[in-house]
């Protein structure tokens, strides 16, 4: 696919990568620091890392930078939080996955399929008048995917939330990891 590079997330969005202990209650601790201040968590993805004792959370929040700095410091105070970095979209790689059920009768099916193909997606399920498809892309590309399918009629959608890691330095190992 040959499209221009994806724009970053909206300026108010901040992406935090939070390494935490993989144990009960940790997610609630993290989430409640945002909730207490009335900040909305826009998206959230959690899974264990290569070391099963730890999980990585990718949190996208809608906050101005100054209050975010305070929240990050408060997050750092949580005993179960190991490390936090804010990921600048320009210095990180980001992906998201979507499952989407869209209306598509026999006539529309071809049009939907060509969009799925354009986004390097797959068909997971099919019925006479609906398709369930998946795509895995940069989050802003998934926004486009969703927009393009909307006219057909989206029946159901589940996105995973953004996951992100810092970009590698071409020159060396781990040099961009904070």
């Amino acid at each position: 696919m040959n499209l221009p590079p994806p724009p970053g997330p909206a300026p108010k969005h901040h992406v935090l990568s939070v390494l935490v202990e993989n144990r009960a209650g940790v997610l609630a601790r993290v989430a409640s620091l945002f909730a207490r201040r009335g900040y909305n968590i826009f998206s959230l993805a959690v899974a264990p890392t290569q070391d099963e004792r730890f999980s990585r959370l990718t949190v996208v929040v809608d906050v101005e930078s100054a209050p975010l700095e305070q929240v990050v410091k408060q997050l750092n105070k949580l005993i179960n939080v190991i490390k936090i970095s804010e990921l600048d979209p320009r210095d990180s790689v980001e992906r998201e996955l979507v499952l989407l059920t869209v209306r598509a009768n026999a006539e529309q099916r071809q049009q939907v399929l060509s969009l799925v193909e354009l986004f390097e997606g797959h068909v997971l399920d099919v019925s006479v008048d609906e398709l369930t498809v998946t795509a895995e892309e940069h989050p802003s590309r998934l926004d486009d995917f969703e927009e393009l399918l909307r006219p057909f009629g989206i029946v159901d959608i589940q996105r995973t939330g953004r996951v992100a890691l810092p970009k590698l330095e071409p020159g060396g190992v781990g040099s961009n990891r904070h």
Partner: protein, 588 residues
């Protein structure tokens, strides 16, 4: 050695050096109360779980060691939420153990079940629900480690009944005691920074050596870091005056010529104004609380700020420091003194600019605006300030004083002369009415060698007075001075000044309850004091009693207000002094 969770828990407390704990049993925690009978730990049975929490806090304030409280599940856990929040706000090291319903019953709305870790998450430094008996020794060690290191605070450990009940096979464990290294490696996310950054310390020293109007703004962190001596050395070497916040009273001696006393909403004129006019604030373990800064945008407008705190989240939270230093106050001050010596070639005084004008400005303020009140003789009502002066004069130098929250608290902080660290036990951040009686009891348990006074309001007293039954039963001879002004005085003061004297729901009555009869019924010696001549003799009499609690009820003037005062939300430059003094510019 095979043991059970309940015995392991008590043994773990013993090994952590716990000598006394405060609590009250109930269904879910029953199995842990059984081994207490055979333990050397002294358990003090409270009359309300809030009392247990504040006693643990008072113990910690007075001794520097963590206070320990143990209560059952559900309503007992919710009763101790206020002390947890209080300890969290004031960075008090405390470990609270709560019972919980058996693991299989959790989440079923079982009898006396509540989500204790959920409820207390935001008012503890850390909390933990233990789900396996074999985790108990490690979790207890972690709790004490977390509560007492870094920025101290309360830690809660929630223990389901099945893992401590010897009748349940889930309570069996092989005893082990984790090493320090095991505790540290079990907490990969917890590494408090204690040593200050060398470059930043040098920057701070340079700022100090060039400041013309510097002030040391000492906070409760000085006491937590046991840095009172280091602070004194720094102040004396640099000849810089010190303000001590409500949480830091006693961290620097009030009688020291460099001490300016308490700043803030009810601070004295000189402390407030010296901060306001300073060109350098050296904030040591203080947190720019809104009660200190007044309107933040107008606070100390010309001051550069050096901010030292062990909690990185405090740096820049309210005021962006020019030199932020994360570290333990004692270590950083010591490093700072070394840096000052190095930079000045040994003679710190000679390396600093001439500050004689600043010094004479400060002493001018002190002369113009001392704290004032007028006690008339005869049958007039007592002035609370007079009572406090008398209490202080008649108490030994190292007497510990606790207070409730309200006008009486501010007068205590203003009129008591604190010359020793750890003699002031107070609820600053949360401002918890009812704190003083149980906190004084905890302090007396921790320091039986010291005289302990609680200065309480009539409103506060009615919130936790029942703990005097605990004190009488356990022979803890605390002394309580009730400043009975028949009002929720502090609220009345705001209604008088800011709500056109429309008094809404603040009247309490001087006679109901009858404080003397009530105190006597709780096993105390009690006296009512109504005239100025009676004050001294009554205090002397109370000071002589050492085998039971004493309560003195002082009938005080409800019209008396706390001054100076910076009205809430206003700039510290708008400080209002006592009406008998000329109002400084800016105030009405």
């Amino acid at each position: 050695m095979v043991t059970n969770g309940g015995s392991a828990l008590i043994k773990a407390l013993e090994l952590e050096g716990v000598e006394v704990m405060f609590g009250l049993p109930g269904g879910a925690i029953l199995p842990v109360y059984d081994p207490i009978i055979d333990s050397p730990i002294r358990h003090i049975l409270v009359r309300h779980e809030q009392g247990a929490g504040h006693m643990a806090e008072g113990f910690a304030h007075a001794t520097g060691r963590p206070g320990v409280a143990m209560v059952t599940s559900g309503p007992a856990a919710t009763n101790i939420v206020t002390p947890l929040c209080d300890a969290y706000m004031d960075s008090v090291p405390m470990v609270v153990i709560t019972g919980q319903v058996p693991t299989p019953a959790i989440g079923t709305d079982a009898f006396q079940e509540c989500d204790t870790v959920g409820i207390t998450r935001s008012v503890t430094k850390h909390n933990e629900l233990v789900t396996r008996a074999e985790d108990i020794p490690l979790v207890i060690r972690q709790a004490f480690h977390i509560a007492t290191t870094g920025r101290p605070g309360p830690v809660l450990v929630d223990i389901p009944k099945d893992i401590v009940d010897p009748a349940n096979p889930r309570s069996a464990l092989d005893w082990y005691w984790p090493t320090d290294a095991e505790v540290a490696s079990s907490l990969p996310g917890y590494k408090p920074t204690t040593k200050g950054h060398a470059k930043k310390i040098r920057d701070a020293a340079e700022l100090i050596l060039s400041a013309r109007r510097p002030i040391i703004y000492a906070g409760g962190g000085i006491l937590k870091a046991r840095a009172a001596e280091a602070l004194r050395e720094l102040a004396e070497l640099t000849d810089i005056s010190v303000v001590t916040t409500l949480m830091a009273r006693g961290a620097f001696p009030d009688d020291h010529p460099l001490c300016l006393g308490m700043p803030g909403m009810h601070g004295n004129y000189t402390a407030v104004t010296a901060m306001q006019e300073a060109d350098l604030l050296i904030a040591l373990g203080s947190r720019f609380d809104d009660r200190v800064t007044g309107k933040v945008d107008a606070f100390a407008p010309e001051a550069k700020v050096i901010h030292v705190d062990i909690d990185p989240a405090e740096l820049g939270k309210v005021r962006r420091p020019d030199v932020p230093i994360v570290g333990d106050c004692r270590l950083v001050i010591e490093e700072l003194v070394t840096a000052l010596r190095d930079l000045s070639g040994g003679d710190i005084a000679a390396a600093q600019p001439d500050r004689s004008t600043w010094r004479s400005t400060i002493s001018g303020w002190q002369e113009r605006y001392p704290l004032v009140y007028e006690q008339s003789a005869g049958d007039d009502l007592l002035k609370p300030q007079f009572v406090l002066e008398q209490l202080w004069e008649r108490a030994p130098e190292d007497c510990i004083v606790a207070s409730g929250v309200g006008q009486h608290q501010m007068w205590t902080s203003q009129y008591w002369r604190f010359n020793h660290p750890y003699t002031w036990v107070n609820s600053g951040g949360l401002g918890t009415m009812g704190f003083s009686v149980p906190a004084a009891i905890g302090a007396k348990v921790g320091r039986p060698d010291r005289m302990v006074w609680a200065v309480d309001g009539d409103g506060c007293f009615q919130m936790t007075a029942q703990e005097l039954v605990t004190a009488a039963t356990e022979r803890i001879p605390v002394k309580v001075a009730i400043l009975n002004n028949a009002y929720l005085g502090m609220v009345r003061q705001w209604q008088e000044m800011f709500y056109d004297e429309r008094y809404s729901e603040v009247y309490l009555s001087p006679d109901l309850p009858d404080y003397v009869k009530w105190s006597e019924a709780m096993g105390c010696v009690a006296l009512r004091v109504e005239s100025p001549e009676e004050v001294g003799p009554a205090i002397d009499k109370a000071n002589e009693i050492d085998d039971r609690p004493v309560v003195l009820e002082f009938r005080t003037d409800s019209n008396e207000k706390v001054f100076p005062m910076v009205p809430a939300g206003r700039s510290n430059s708008d400080i209002v002094v006592d009406p008998s003094q000329p109002q400084p510019g800016g105030a009405q």
